[in-house]
Amino acid sequence: MLIHQDMKMADVVHLNHHLLHVINRFGIQLGYGEKTVSQLCATHKVPLPFFLEIVNTFHDPSYFPLESLLQFKASRLIEYLQQTHSYYLEFRIPEIENYIQRLNNDSSFDEAIKVLLLDFFGQYSHELTVHINKEEQRVYPYVLALEQFLESERSDQEQLELLKAYSIHEYEEDHENVEDKLFDLKNIIIKYIPSPKDSRLLNLILHEIFELEKDLNNHQHIEDLILVPIVEKMEIELRKSTKRTK
């Protein structure tokens, strides 16, 4: 069942509680009362179609975003993607790290294994941070500059040359798979860690990793299916405008 504008926001969460974080990223916090999706979007000045597409893409991975999504402004999409980035770096990653640290209280656990896990997760979070920084410092500014240029008078030749030197496809190729390590960590914990006396904390860690993975997959899905096509469209427009000035 897809999420539609007349549903109560509370029912959306009852239907799929994984959406809570996604809803938060639009600035919509708990305490929905009886308000519907469209009412809350209006209150928080979130464009309704944009909210629905993003939430449904997360809710149903086989849901393919509508053509209309390509009409959205890249800057709005980037704002959302940045929200998810800071959610990973400021909340989810430290939280998992915290749980792994808490293994220290379990004396039945071999010291070396705790260190191994923490190290491995440390490597992962470093890679994720590098990847995110690259997007935020190189890719997003390019997309924003492109959008700004197309909305302007398009007379700045210098800016035009600068933009033409880059393409979103370089970024696609650059889109290395940061998820492999997370995948490995799941199997290491599920299959290869010597059975502890009490698995509850490890269960919790696994649960968090599965959640993070689901979120990251969706994040990449949105970049590949929505952001990249929007930018491609802008790049075609840019090339057209080059011809006009020549």
Binding site: A112, L116, L117, F120, D180, I188, Y192
Partner: protein, 206 residues
């Protein structure tokens, strides 16, 4: 996953068609489905158009539309599964590879589905649980220590191609893709000592 399997469903009942698709999804088969409630024209034309590997067809429709030879194109390469409510119309049995009683329980239906899907080799039932061989663990040890494929091939006197095959199998069996992950596995399973890693630390950074 292997490529999508074409499936054709010819059945008047919407509910039966939906139920079939639901069960097919649950088998884990990757498929693409064409469905129709009626046969416009001939059964043979439908088959030629969609080129299915599996055809689910209502036996009454099959009975009234069958003109052809099971041993000739386009029928010899596909599996025909007749769908029946109760009695199978006379003469239809010989055209079907299998007859499915749609009033059966879910467990029985699933059992039949998995049976003919594996029989066709549409799902490879490879043993995912097999553990790694001695040779693979030699390779794994060196991977964990940070050796490159070239170095491993020289040390073990095998080709680089063989090293890569071993690595693929290791990853498939363990469910671990990265060098760092394989290193953790090797330490946990005492294939390497964490002390050994120190000397090669720089080599393991790709």
């Amino acid at each position: 996953m292997s490529e999508l399997v074409n499936i054709l469903i010819i059945e008047p009942s919407y509910l039966v068609r939906e139920g079939l698709k639901t069960l097919l999804t649950q088998t884990g088969l990757a498929f693409r489905v064409e469905e129709t409630a009626v046969i416009n024209g001939s059964f043979q034309k439908l088959v030629e158009k969609h080129q299915p590997r599996l055809v689910f067809i209502n036996t009454l429709l099959l009975h009234s539309h069958w003109h052809g030879n099971r041993n000739k194109a386009p029928f010899q390469k596909l599996q025909i599964i007749g769908l029946t409510w109760s009695d199978v119309p006379e003469g239809v049995l010989s055209h079907c590879d299998f007859v499915l009683d749609i009033t059966s329980s879910k467990a029985i239906l699933m059992h039949h589905f998995v049976h003919f899907i594996t029989k066709l080799g549409l799902i490879n039932d490879e043993k995912g649980s097999e553990s790694i061989s001695e040779r693979e663990s030699d390779v794994l040890r060196l991977v964990a220590l940070g050796y490159t494929n070239n170095e491993i091939s020289e040390r073990l006197f095998i080709s680089v191609h063989t090293v890569m095959t071993h690595r693929k199998n290791i990853t498939r069996k363990l469910g671990i893709k990265t060098v760092a992950g394989l290193t953790v596995y090797s330490i946990l399973n005492k294939l390497v000592e964490s002390g050994e890693l120190k000397g090669r630390a720089s080599a393991s950074i790709e």
